[in-house]
Symmetry: C2
Subunit: 158 residues, 2 copies
């Protein structure tokens, strides 16, 4: 049991809010007719897979950040957590770039940056909490798939 | 740290699989043109809200059942957990009834039964783990909303 459970719950709430903010950009720039009209690469998941996957991934990453924040020594928190915040920003940027502006090339560049930042985040988290690092593994896997899909769609429709 | 972490992970996997099975009926009987053509009651959420909410709720309920199983004394496990399994069955039944068969009245009856079973589950979980009980609170809230929507749709289109 944590010594100050209320403060721990506020911390979880704070991370959920920040992650939720990033998720909002995806909600406000959803796939539409443009995406439906594009040629898709092989193994493109059905549309329903995306809100299901992202809901779970956003929750897992908020839990990971919460865990990492709680176990990191006070002087190391910024070092451990800035990659997470940076990857969140790259994540939030992608939907507006791809579904909003239809800039498939720049969106792919953003995804590759996101991928690298997630790897860096996982390494920083692993230094304080293996659990926090593992909670991000599905996220990295999904972003790998997303990069393939982005590249494939760009290749087929660029 | 649990004394046997591998067994604990297998247990989590087992609950995730069972809950995932229940979630499958919803994936195979999604809203379609019939639902789109129905008159909707006030405050009906946008379609995207449903896969997002259910993804999170299914994960939370699997975590709750995992937690309850781990802390319940061996002789009490069936007592503590059968309501959860029963509510899962009622949950799995709803989408086929509503979206599959269009039986709005029977679907509503199933939802009311589900609601009562979730309350019973929460009470049983609370006896062994307050956390496990609280993890089900969003689920009960959402099913309350679902009952209102089901009743409203039935009223407007029955």
């Amino acid at each position: 049991m944590p010594p100050r459970p209320i403060r721990s719950f506020s911390l979880l709430l704070a991370w959920l809010l920040l992650v939720g903010l990033a998720a909002l950009t995806g909600i406000f720039t959803p796939p539409g007719e443009w995406y439906a009209s594009l040629a898709k690469p092989p193994f493109t998941p059905p549309n329903l897979a995306f809100p299901i996957a992202w809901s779970l991934l956003y929750l897992l990453m908020a839990l990971a950040a919460w865990r990492a924040t709680r176990v990191a020594p006070a002087g190391q928190r910024v070092t451990v957590l800035w990659p997470f915040v940076a990857q969140l920003a790259a994540n939030a940027l992608w939907s507006p770039l791809f579904f909003g502006l239809h800039w498939m090339g720049l969106a792919l560049a953003d995804l590759l940056l996101l991928w690298a930042l997630i790897v860096l985040t996982i390494r920083r988290f692993a230094g304080v909490s293996p659990l926090a690092a593992w909670l991000l593994a599905p996220y990295l896997a999904w972003v790998s798939l997303a990069a393939y899909l982005n590249a494939g769609v760009w290749w087929l429709n660029g």
